[in-house]
Amino acid sequence: MTTEQVAQHYYELAQQQKWSEIIDTYYHDDIECIEPPNSKSQPYTKGIEHVKAKAMHFTSMIEKIHAGYTTQPIIAGNMFSVGIGMDFDMKGAGRMKFDEFGVFTVREGKIVREEFIMNWSDSGGHEYKA
């Protein structure tokens, strides 16, 4: 599978909010995940089980999603990038919104690395750390 095919399918699954399926289908066992300093998740996670646990923890903190989007992917060699945003209520922390770009590196049809750049807004001054 080419990077373009992985990116396109990632986009299609993201449109349907099928994040678990993305992880199960496309993440390499040794996936590396790098979060920015202002992320509410762990800065560095390696291994599919840890990345899954991180994703599930984040999902479990969501009370209600008001809106969300994923942009069409852009491709450069063996990397692709999508913009992702969500406006949601987090349990105990109120309504917040983030926009981010995820940059994904593909090797032999699997995502081996993901790195994010993000911004939070309208968080009402609440802080939450996973």
Binding site: M79, G83, V103, I117
Partner: protein, 117 residues
């Protein structure tokens, strides 16, 4: 200018290879340029340092065979685009690379650029 407008102007100038104009017109004076760990260049802050870093790279170019910048995608106050070049560098031979560049916009100016390759 909105992030979308900055992104559109960026793309317009990039398609004309007017990268100097991108820096002088769209970057804030204290913008940061963040390179990945495997980059031959260091991350710098300040428009003068970013211009100097660009010049340092240009001085290394022996021959530019081809280059591209694709249309940007916007998410919140970020925009990202993919770019690449096929270039012969002095003493290093011919190299091809592709990268993703993510730009953060505040008050109509680019306050950071971050590269992934």
């Amino acid at each position: 200018m909105t992030t979308q407008q900055v992104a559109d102007r960026f793309n317009e100038l990039a398609q004309q290879n007017k990268f100097d104009e991108i820096l002088t017109e769209l970057f804030s004076a204290d913008a940061r340029s963040i390179e990945p760990a495997n980059a031959p260049f260091q991350s710098v802050q300040g428009i003068d340092n970013i211009i100097a870093k660009g010049k340092q790279f240009h001085d290394m170019i022996e021959e530019m065979h081809s280059a591209y910048t694709n249309a940007p995608m916007v998410a919140g106050n970020f925009f990202a685009c993919t770019m690449g070049m096929d270039v012969s560098l002095k003493g290093l031979g011919r190299q091809q690379f592709d990268e993703v560049a993510v730009y953060e916009v505040k008050d109509g100016k680019i306050i950071s650029e971050q590269f992934f390759f």
